[in-house]
Structures are given as C-alpha cells and as structure tokens.
C-alpha cells in the first residue's frame, strides 16, 4: 500500500512519438529556419521599445487634467504597460478584464482605433491622456465629436448602416450569452434601425457629423448621460 504517491507524469504517446520522429533526418528542426529567425528578432525588438511620454508640464498644457490627476493616470497606465505603449492585444486584454461575461474584443478594437489618433498601431500615454481629456473634461460638443469619431470606422466623415451595425454588434457582444431577456439575433439590427430613424435627418442612409450632433442635442437622455463623465476622475 503506497498512500499519497500521487500521479506519475505521463508524457503522452504523441510527445514520445514526436521525440522519436525528430530523429529521422527529414523531419529535423532545419525545416523552417527563416521564421524562427524573424520571430527572434521580433521579440528582441518589442522588448527594447520603451516609450517615455513628454514632460508633465507639456501634458498639463495640452490636456485639461491637473498635475495630480496626470500623475495618478500615468501610474495606472505604466502599471499595466511597463513599456510605455499599448498595442492592440494589450488593450483588448485590459479592457476584457472589466467585462468578464461577454466578449469585448471587438469594441476594444474600435476604441483602440479611436484612441490611436496617428494610426501607428500603438497608443502612447499622450494619446491615452488626450482621449481621456476630451471625454472627461471636454465640452459636450467635444464629447459628441469623439463619439462620432468612434462610430466612423473608416474615418470618412459618414456613419453608414454597416458601420453602425458593427458597432452595435460589438456592444451586444459584451453582454455575453446569459442575459435577460435572451438576446435575439435581430436585436442589433433593430437597434441600428431605430438609431438611424433618430439621427438620419435627410434619410440618405448615412449620418453626418452635423446630423449627429444636432440629433443628440435634441435628445434629453443623451445630454444627461453625457454629463455623467464629469465626475469619473
């Protein structure tokens, strides 16, 4: 009787066979040399990139945050992104931590594109703070502008129904599977229809920035909800 012996490790048959097969010359590791070299270089590159933001004074001028607020923001930013910049994967991963039930990756992508104003594939602290400054400290019009920018996926100045549908689907995705009442397939489409009903003045199938701002200003709910952002920080 051997109590408490635990489970011996079981290298799978596959692992052993792989080991065995590696001995045969044709299946050796020289098959894909170029890819490995590239990946090594890539890793090396990423780890040496480290972005430092501009000075605190400049950021203070550019944004509407106080010095202390900037300090707090930067500390949080640097905690999650020690290298100083956020790439899309990181961004999605951070954002997903706030929505454990659903899939927030699509919406996070849209957000990323909205924050990444110079479209270089990464969000630096300046971009981050600039975006937050508009949302949290900007005027209502600024905020509405920013929201329009978010919706306008291809940045052509018009929101089409397809773009809106993508946005709507991504928002509904964040809800996840377990909702009450249960999510139906057509829900995003219906929501897009009602949105266009409200926003599209001239019924030409697209929403321009003027239409958008005008319609939002007429809507009580939207105005009130925009004021929610005053007290976030």
């Amino acid at each position: 009787r051997n109590p408490g012996l635990g489970n011996p490790p079981r290298p799978t048959k596959k692992a052993l066979k792989q080991r065995f097969l590696k001995l045969l010359p044709c299946c050796g590791p020289q098959a894909l040399p170029s890819v490995s070299e590239n990946s090594v270089e890539d890793e090396f590159e990423l780890s040496t990139v480290c972005h430092r933001p501009e000075g605190l004074d400049q950021l203070q001028e550019q944004t509407k945050f106080t010095r202390k607020e900037l300090q707090v923001l930067y500390r949080g930013f640097k905690n999650e992104c020690p290298s100083g910049i956020v790439n899309e994967e990181n961004f999605k991963q951070i954002y997903s931590q706030f929505f454990p039930q659903g899939d927030s990756s699509t919406y996070a992508t849209f957000l990323f594109n909205a924050f990444d104003t110079n479209h270089d594939g990464s969000v630096s602290f300046e971009d981050f703070v600039a975006g937050l400054s508009v949302i949290l400290r900007g005027t209502i019009d600024d905020r509405l502008n920013w929201a329009f920018n978010l919706y306008d996926l291809n940045k052509d100045g018009f929101i089409t129904k397809e773009e809106m549908l993508d946005i709507m689907k991504s928002i509904y995705d964040m809800m996840g599977k377990y909702t009450y009442p249960a999510l139906r397939e057509e829900a995003p489409r219906e929501h897009v229809e009602s949105f266009f009903q409200k926003m599209d003045r001239n019924k030409d199938g697209v929403v321009t920035i003027e239409e958008f701002i005008e319609s939002c200003q007429k809507d009580e709910n939207i105005m009130r909800s925009m004021q929610l952002f005053d007290n976030v920080i």
Binding site: G4, K13, V72, Q97, L144, A147, R224
Partner: protein
C-alpha cells in the same frame, strides 16, 4: 476584475461614451464619491523595514487585513505608521499582491510559515498565481503527508480502543511488526513460500538412475517426500488464506485484490490434482496445471517492498510500456518483411515466411543474435545491420521514462521510511521539550523551597543551587503555582508519579490505620489512571536526595527520612498538609492524609500530622540515618 487593472477603471468608464448616443433609455446615476480625498501614502513598518504604498492600493481588497479597518489596530500614533511585528520577507509578497493582483509563492520560504503569514493578513492561498501554484500545491501536499504520518504514529502509540479480534488479526496480517505473533507468522509463511518454490525447482532435477538406465527426476524418485512437502506447504497457504479472508474488513474487496488472486492460483493446482488423480485422460492437463505452482513466488511480494514498488511502477508506466510494445511490433513487422523479400532469392534460406522472419528480427533488435538464422545475401546483410541498429534505439527510448518513474516512486518510499525512522527521535525531541518546561517549574519550586529552608536553617553551603530565573519564567511559575493552589494538587514529574503509585498500592494496609488524619475524606484520586499530567499528591517517602516539596505558604511539611544513608544531608519530603487531603490510591479507597513509609515500620505512625496550619516554625534537622523520624517544617 483583477485589482491590477483597477487603475484603468476610469478609462473603462470613459470608454462608455460610445454607448451613450445609441442608448434609448436614460443612464443610471453614477455613484458619488463622498470622500474624494487625495490619495495618500501609507507607511507600513514590518519589523523595522518600511514599506510605503498608496492608500488606494491597499483598498483594492477590502476583505483583507490591510484593506479593511482592521489595520487601524496596528496604527502607531507616535510614529504615524502601521507597525506589524511579522516577517518582512513574506510581507514583500503580500504587498506585491496588492500592487499587481498576483500572489506569488517564493520557493525558499517554508510552507507553514507562508501559510501562517497569509492567514494573518487575511489572504486565501487559493489565489496564488498560476506561475507559483504548482510549487505551492506540491509543497503543501508533502507537508500534509508529514503531518499525517505524525498523526498516525501518535494514534498508534496511544493505546487504541480495544479492537475486535477480527480487527486485531487484520492488523497483524497487514503490519507484521505490531506484535510478536504477527512477526512469527510472517516469517513462517515466508519460509514456507521459499520451501515450496525450491521443491518445485528441485523436483525436476535428474536424480540418479534406476535399473533400466532411465534417468529419473527427483520428483518421481522421491515422490512421497515431495508430496508430503507440497501438502504441508499448501496446507499452510490455505490456512493463511482462510484466516485473511476471515479477518478482512471487506471480504468482497479482499477477494478481488491481486494478492488474494495470487494466493488462490498458488494453491488451486494442488486441490485440482487431488481431485483428478484417478482420471488418466486429463493427466496431461493436470501436468500443465502444475506450472501455476510457480506463482507462489509472487507471494513474496507481501514480504518485499521493492517488489511492490516494481509492480506499482509497471502499472503506472502502462502507457509507456504500451508504446514500447507498439513501436517494437511496428519495427518487427517492417524488418521481417524486408528481410523475407531480401532473402527470398538465396537458396536454402531459413527465411521461409514473414512470420518465420519475426524470430530473426526480434533476436536481432534485442541484440541477442543467436545465429540460428543469418542473412546470406548482401541486401539481407545490409538490412540486417540496419535492423540491429534501430533495435537499440527503439528500446532505449522509453526505458528512461520507466526508470525515472521507478526511481521517483522508490525515493518517495525512501522518504517515508526515513521519516518513520526519524520519527522516534523526533517524538523524543518533542517529549523532551514538553517535559523540559514542566521540569523547570518543579526544579524552580524545589530550589525556591530549598532556598527558603536554607534561610531558615542558615546553612550557606547550598547557595550555588540558587538559579536566577528570568522575569517571564518566574511569572509563569507563579501562574502554575496559582493553579496548584486552586486545585489543591501539585505538579510532579512522571517518575515520581509512578513510584508513588506503586508505593501507595503497597501501602494500602497501613494507610487505613491512620484514619484520623485529615478532615477531608472525600478527595481521592486514582494514581493508576491515565492522568499522567494531572497533579496529585503522592507520598514520596523513598525518594532520595533533594525532594523537597512544600507549599509556599502556611503549611506543614512532613519530612520523613528513610533508612538510606544518602539521606543524611537531604530531606525527603512527604507532602501533606492538613488542607490537602488527597491521597491517591490505586484501589480508589478513601485514604486521606497519611504518612506512609515504605518499608514496613508500623512504628511509623503518623505523628503530628494534623497540626493546624499556623504552627510555629519548626526547625529542621538533618535526619539521622537510623530509623525514621518525622520532622515538621513549616514554611512561611
């Protein structure tokens, strides 16, 4: 949500701006931040090492010590910092948990110390990060095994509640070291297994000829002797099997276990042989059955731990063994086919068919090389050499896995054995530590009384006995003393207790002669009960040397010397105050204060026992070696 990203919550809330314009209904109100204090630094002083962090960092986990108001208990007003008298090394991990949301387990840390610290700070160990979780679980399992071992041994050492006869027998079978009878049985069965195996082997040795020039195996020449031996062995095995069956706690499980199947297979051929001796037709089958007698050798696995480990290893490496078999089969078929076709051309080749070539392949791959089949063509020789080379490789691959498994299991067993061997020493250490502290009290008590008595007598030569005790020790002793007072019992050590127990059992008679002694008839204790830790008053008459006992207040000490000359300079004390009327008695009879002297002398009637406590301080005298005197000393 991991606390590490708590700092990004404002961002997540800001990102909700994308939902506002598409929402059709109004948004709920945001929670108001009542205490919108500026974030401040907190200083945490852990054993002198200062850690600083933001208050909000700690507040991320409000159900831990640091995150809740519990830490206010540790706030030091003078230095305006939170002081914790704990290990600063482990605190580093704890604080990092607040900062990053991940709890790590440092490898160099002892698992119990780490668990203690986590429990102190109110953190559940289950949230240890994936990177360190395996290590933590492994160490925890080892620790649990160790504790379980200790507990088992403790349980075994205490007297078990009386087991039923059946359970005792089962225990004797499973652990031969528990009793001598079990050990004897163990060796006897082992001996008979060996005898049986040897007779099976020797039976077949040719043993001289009979007239007619026929060589006979010993089995046929001395048929009767071998039959008797066989019968004896089988009888022993049968008895053993039946006894085990009777004693097994779960008979059904026992019948299904491997060892019992081996037992059955070992004895079955004999009985079948008995039944079938008459029938000549099936005697061929009967002879085959005798092969199964060799399974008796597996009965040795009860006697050998190594065999058991080997069996267990093979069982646990079943998949590797299966792979080995599979790959060997593959290779055998491939090479047999190749060799067959390569040698097809040559004349008089032994490779008559592919299955016939299997034999060659196996013999070559395992590098046996009998040489009964050899290739003759050049192609055959080439493929034959490739076959032998690959054989070495294919066999060498899974073998290290099996070996390492065996080694790991074997070492685990070694560790368990080592633990068991050291257990005695470990328990002795623990026991010594425990008795050390109680002995300290007794010793100090004796010394204290000795000092007082010395003061009374004024003899300076024993001053070296005074020991300076620390404040904590003296406070502890005072506490024990108060307990003694409360219960009217005294602490003594085990030796004295047992001696007194024996004495009082012998002194049953004389004790009843002195009934008038005490005013407390009702208090008895049984000295032979298992209350070794309880304090009892016991007579001490035959104890040599400085056994001085007294109560440190108004009490009379009855000191009695014995005949031993060594007592001239010492005092042996007998307890007994009039107040404490306790006398243990193995029979539980009502004995109260009595002075009992050991050997004999009925002349020792208790004198002066029931003096009222506030007697005048008597003087102590050195007890003359002859006779016995009773001297009263009252210590104030």
């Amino acid at each position: 949500m991991a606390a590490g990203v708590a700092a990004w919550l404002p961002f997540a809330r800001a990102a909700a701006i994308g939902w506002m314009p598409v929402a059709n209904c109004p948004m709920p109100l945001a929670p108001a931040d009542k205490n919108k204090r500026q974030d401040e630094l907190i200083i945490l002083n852990v054993s002198g090492r200062r850690f600083q962090t933001w208050r909000t960092t700690l507040e991320r986990y409000p159900d831990t010590l640091l995150g809740s108001t519990e830490k206010e208990f540790f706030f030091n007003e003078d230095t305006k910092e939170y002081f914790f008298d704990r290990d600063p090394e482990v605190f580093r991990c704890v604080l990092n948990f607040y900062r990053t949301g991940k709890l790590h387990y440092p490898r160099y840390e002892c698992i119990s110390a780490y668990d203690d610290e986590l429990a102190f700070y109110g953190i559940l160990p289950e949230i240890i990060g994936d990177c360190c979780y395996e290590e933590y679980k492994d160490r925890k399992r080892e620790n649990a095994e160790r504790l379980m071992d200790d507990n088992d041994s403790e349980n075994n050492q205490e007297s078990l509640p009386s087991l039923s006869f059946r359970q005792t027998m089962w225990r004797a079978f499973e652990n031969p070291h528990t009793s001598t009878l079990a050990l004897v049985f163990y060796y006897v069965t082992g001996f008979f297994i060996a005898v049986s195996v040897i007779t099976n082997v020797v039976e077949t040795v040719p043993c001289g000829t009979v007239p007619g020039n026929k060589e006979l195996p010993c089995g046929e020449r001395y048929a009767v002797a071998f039959f008797c031996l066989d019968t004896a062995c089988v009888m022993i095995f049968t008895v053993e099997y039946l006894l085990r069956l009777f004693a097994a706690p779960s008979r059904y499980r026992f019948i299904r276990s491997v060892m019992s199947i081996i037992d059955v297979v070992a004895i079955m051929p004999y009985y079948i042989g008995l039944v079938m001796t008459n029938n000549e037709d099936v005697s061929g089958a009967f002879v085959t059955l005798r092969v199964f007698r060799v399974f008796r050798i597996f009965k040795f696995s009860r006697h050998s731990q190594g065999l058991r480990i080997l069996g267990y290893t093979l069982k646990s490496c079943a998949s590797e063994l299966g792979f080995l078999l599979f790959s060997l089969t593959m290779a055998i078929i491939i090479f047999a086919t190749v060799m067959f076709y390569a040698e097809k051309g040559s004349s008089a080749s032994k490779f008559t068919s592919i299955p016939a070539s299997f034999w060659y392949t196996i013999v070559t791959m395992t590098t046996l090389g009998y040489g009964d089949m050899v290739p003759k063509t050049i192609a055959g020789k080439i493929f034959g050499s490739i076959c032998s080379l690959s054989g070495v490789l294919v066999i060498a691959l899974p073998v290290p896995v099996i070996v390492s498994n065996f080694s790991r299991i074997y070492h685990q067993n070694q560790r368990a054995d080592k633990r068991r061997a050291q257990k005695k020493a470990r328990l002795a250490r623990i026991r010594v530590a425990k008795t050390g502290s109680s002995n300290a009290y007794l010793h100090s008590k004796r010394n204290g009384l000795l000092n007082e008595a010395l003061e009374l007598t004024g003899s300076p030569e024993d001053e070296h006995l005074t020991k300076t005790t620390s404040l904590i020790e003296s406070q502890h002793h005072h506490l024990l003393h108060c307990l003694e007072k409360t219960t009217n019992h005294e602490f003594i050590d085990e030796q004295m207790f047992e001696q007194n127990c024996m004495e009082s059992s012998m002194q049953n008679y004389p004790s009843t002669r002195s009934p008038s002694l005490s005013s407390h008839p009702g208090l008895t204790t049984s000295c032979c009960s298992r209350r070794s830790k309880k304090t009892t008053h016991l007579p001490n008459s035959n104890l040599p040397a400085t056994r001085l006992r007294s109560m440190q207040e108004l009490s009379t000490i009855h000191i009695q010397g014995s005949e031993q000359p060594s007592l001239t300079t010492s005092r042996s004390s007998l307890n007994l105050k009039a107040d404490d009327g306790l006398r243990p008695n193995c029979k539980g009879s009502q004995i109260t204060t009595a002075i009992i002297s050991i050997p004999t002398p009925p002349a020792l009637t208790p004198e002066g026992e029931s003096r009222p406590p506030p007697s005048s301080p008597g003087s102590t005298t050195n007890i003359p070696p002859i006779g016995s005197n009773i001297v009263k000393v009252s210590a104030l």
